[in-house]
């Protein structure tokens, strides 16, 4: 468990994505089976152990440490598992294999758990104690997605990311066949049904770029502002994947129930009430929930609007041109009123399409998609066959309020900016942006922050409210978590308005009006 503890500790303090991938790769390469598989599953949240409760841990500690000293310590450290790992008074420093710890947690009955956990803590050194307690409480919080784990795996051997993603959902911890395959063994014979297949993605384009192409070669459809998904029913096995291959079926039992067909479809997940498609914020309420209440299922019913078919009734359509796949899609019966097909738009010239795009029939449309009629379905983001022509971003003039130092290549530069809008006489923070500017502009922003700091909070500085930033964003959601009541999507700094006085920045009201 020493290697796993080292990995956890490094990941907890590493911001850079590349550095995280490297740490994980090194861990996977240096750790024997089955420990590395369990470690991987623990990090990605795929290791389903019965979670040990905080009260059990408190009870354990009360037997060892004075209650007041424990309370003072917990108050200082701020994390229960970490407090216990630090003050556990034992001299053990054994390198217990991770699978032993996993087996202990998986196999010990509830009554025997306190003694078993205390026994394990006695055998371990401090950082392994923390790793073990994090494993036991199921709370890793190291910012490593299953997607990143797969990228690390793909970097380790011959199988490509797409190959790994295709079989990922048919595998279970500790992934021995997967590691064998990566190290040159045979591809795992997948008994698993309904695998994820790599999604085809588009590249961005604007009117000027599109004019280089013949409109007759392209079909157009609306780009709905939901979540791109892959919906599968493979001989009765139903799955709903996000476009990165995360299985999100648990959050959408109503959609799984509606998949009364045989095939794999590509479409948009939306909250729909009758003919009305709800805004993205409504869909977001359904995400990342362990259980969906009956009330939520009724008030926020989800459904699919399909764009494409990958597999249909046993036939792989991916090699066919779009026009032929679309014909199958249009004729198909999906057996549910929660599923329909996104319409193809009628246009002859790019200007026709520009007119349609300028006045979409629903506010939940974020632009148009263009697909070459002869394009096969290819996973990844091939340049050319598919374009997205998004509606123009919204912009607002905001005032820089706080700046935070960046990491990695931006170490030492103030590169993460919190900005605010006027609410009467006050500036209210409305969002945070950390890209959109050039390296040269970053240096200028950094200089501005240093010369205009009014207060410091660790790595964060409050700056004099005098620099106006033009912030572009893709949409707005209502949010109870933000003081302003609004959360921006994809905010970035589109222009630095050195010329504009802060008093002339926009009002919060202006932003709120954009909500509707």
């Amino acid at each position: 468990m020493r290697g796993f503890a080292y990995l956890l500790e490094r990941l907890a303090f590493t911001q850079s994505r590349n550095a995280k991938l490297q740490l994980l790769r090194h861990y996977l390469a240096a750790t024997p089976d089955p420990d590395r598989g369990y470690g991987l599953a623990a990090l990605t949240g795929d290791l389903k152990l019965r979670a040990v409760t905080p009260s059990l841990l408190r009870g354990l500690t009360a037997k060892r440490v004075d209650e007041q000293l424990f309370a003072l310590s917990y108050d200082f450290v701020g994390d229960l598992a970490e407090t216990i790992a630090l003050l556990w008074d034992a001299e053990g420093d054994e390198d217990v294999p991770l699978h032993q710890a996993v087996e202990l947690l998986a196999q010990t009955g509830k009554a025997g758990l306190p003694v078993a956990i205390a026994g394990m803590l006695d055998r371990l050194g401090p950082s392994q104690r923390l790793a073990f307690l994090k494993l036991a409480t199921g709370n890793m919080r190291v910012g490593l997605s299953a997607r990143m784990a797969r990228i690390a795996l793909a970097e380790m051997g011959d199988p490509e990311l797409a190959d790994i993603e295709e079989i990922w959902h048919g595998l279970a911890p500790p992934y021995q066949p997967l590691f064998d395959w990566i190290e040159g063994g045979p591809r795992p014979e997948q008994a698993a049904k309904a695998p994820f297949r790599p999604v085809m993605l588009s590249t961005a384009a604007d009117l000027d770029q599109l004019r280089a192409f013949d409109p007759a070669d392209y079909a157009a459809e609306w780009k709905w502002d939901g979540i791109r998904v892959q919906a599968i029913n493979d001989g009765g096995v139903r799955r709903l994947y996000s476009r990165t291959g995360e299985d999100i079926g648990n959050s959408f039992p109503d959609v799984l129930e509606a998949l009364n067909f045989d095939g794999a479809a590509d479409g948009e997940l939306l909250v729909r009430r009758g003919d009305d498609v709800a805004v993205f914020g409504d869909l977001q309420k359904r995400l990342n929930r362990k259980t969906i209440s009956r009330a939520m299922l009724e008030s926020h019913p989800a459904g699919l609007r399909l764009y494409d078919l990958m597999i249909w009734q046993g036939r792989d359509l991916r090699g066919l041109p779009f026009r032929e796949r679309r014909a199958v899609l249009d004729d198909a019966d999906f057996g549910s009123d929660r599923i329909d097909v996104s319409p193809v738009l009628d246009f002859a010239t790019w200007d026709d399409l520009a007119a349609l795009r300028a006045d979409p029939p629903s506010r939940v449309i974020e632009g148009v998609m263009l697909k070459r009629r002869d394009s096969p379905y290819v996973g990844g983001r091939p340049r050319g066959p598919w374009f997205k022509w998004k509606r123009d971003p919204k912009v607002i003039d905001a005032v820089m309020l706080y700046a935070q130092r960046g990491h990695g290549k931006r170490s030492g530069f103030y590169s993460d900016f919190t900005f605010g809008l006027w609410d009467d006489e006050q500036l209210v923070p409305v969002g945070k942006a950390y890209f959109g500017f050039t390296d040269e502009e970053l240096r200028e922003l950094d200089r501005f922050v240093r010369n205009n700091t009014v207060e410091r909070f660790g790595p964060v500085r409050a700056v004099a409210p005098k620099l106006v930033l033009e912030v572009a964003f893709e949409g707005l959601n209502e949010s109870g978590r933000h003081k302003s009541g609004i959360a921006m999507r994809f905010p970035r700094i589109s222009r630095i308005r050195w010329d504009k006085p802060a008093a002339e920045a926009d009002q919060l009201e202006t932003l709120k009006d954009m909500l509707t």
């Binding site: 303090f13 450290v77 994390d79 630090l86 008074d89 990491h407 170490s411 030492g412």
Partner: protein
């Protein structure tokens, strides 16, 4: 004479009426006894200063030769008005001392200053001094602070340098004491090549070398392309444009606080190294047991934790709540 007539806290710091002197005063006073050279204990502008030779020399480096009107080197037992004082190694930094105050009649008091019981290659080891009242710091006065062997922390540094061979490792360490200790620890761990140091460390590193502390080859980290994989700098440097010359650095920080993740996160570091110049909880409590004073006074730090421990152990204790001392001074 009662103990609190011999020594008691005032706004300017800990005052001794029978000797008419202050220990580590935070304001300019007529007569000051200084435990060690860290800026919050050793300030300039006093009338007469009594301290170890090395502390006096460090003060002169930091504040200029005229940092006090009059200085006296602490050597053996010294009469100061109606008291006798003596200085004893504290194991904290170069020149650091505990100050024992013996009145003509009454309890003997030892003011530890900041102290450390772990072997510290840059200074003389802590020397236990029997006393009636032990005045201790409690910087790490909670049972969560059990600092690991610094050699193990150096292994973590080496592991990271192996893991990321192309990224320079920039380690923050306070300029006086911690920086030099870190360099010696790195040498002991097998780092033989040049170690780059920030300009703010130069004079204090030179002074340590002059005092016989072998720091190995050091190069300045002030040029555009620093040809060293390990760079030591004061923590404040990471907020300055100086750091921009390094491409994708691993930023570390060497401090006893790094044991707590939230503290390390606040620092924004990628590689927290637990290296402390203070007693941790086991050393602190073991020292009090060893000295067995009839009373413990706590100058600063996590006094609630140590107060509670003394209560459990049945040792009379009281907090002095001295202000002006930092968590871990520069």
């Amino acid at each position: 004479m009662r103990a609190d007539q011999i020594l008691h806290p005032t706004e300017a710091g800990l005052y001794c009426p029978p000797g008419d002197f202050f220990i580590d005063p935070i304001r300019p006073v007529r007569r000051a006894l200084i435990t060690h050279g860290h800026g919050d204990h050793a300030r300039s502008g006093h009338g007469a200063v009594l301290a170890t030779r090395q502390t006096l020399e460090i003060m002169a480096i930091r504040y200029g030769a005229d940092f006090a009107t009059e200085v006296q080197q602490a050597d053996g037992s010294i009469r100061v008005a109606d008291t006798t004082v003596s200085f004893h190694p504290a194991g904290h930094i170069l020149g650091s001392a505990q100050i024992a105050v013996t009145p003509r009649k009454g309890p003997k008091i030892v003011v530890s200053g900041d102290y450390c019981r772990r072997v510290n290659p840059v200074c003389a080891p802590y020397e236990p001094v029997a006393c009636d009242v032990f005045v201790t710091e409690a910087t790490f006065g909670l049972p969560v602070f059990r600092h690991p062997d610094p050699a193990a922390e150096m292994t973590r540094l080496l592991d990271s340098m192996t893991e990321f061979p192309d990224r320079p490792h920039l380690i923050g360490a306070y300029a006086l004491g911690k920086a030099q200790r870190l360099i010696v620890l790195a040498r002991e761990a097998g780092i033989e090549g040049p170690i780059a140091i920030h300009g703010a460390l130069q004079r204090l590193c030179d002074y340590h070398v002059g005092q016989g502390v072998d720091l190995g080859p050091l190069i300045p980290a002030t040029v555009e392309d620093v040809p060293a994989r390990l760079v030591i700098a004061p923590p404040s440097a990471f907020a300055s444009p100086w750091v921009q010359r390094f491409r994708d650095p691993v930023i570390g920080f060497a401090s006893g606080w790094m044991q707590v993740r939230a503290r390390a996160r606040q620092r924004g570091v990628e590689l927290p190294l637990i290296v402390s110049d203070h007693v941790d909880w086991p050393q602190l409590t073991a020292t009090i047991r060893e000295l067995a004073p009839s009373e413990v006074w706590i100058t600063h730090g996590a006094e609630d934790g140590l107060m509670r421990w003394c209560q459990i152990e049945g040792i009379p204790a009281r907090p002095l709540r001295l202000v002006g001392y930092e968590d871990e001074p520069e």
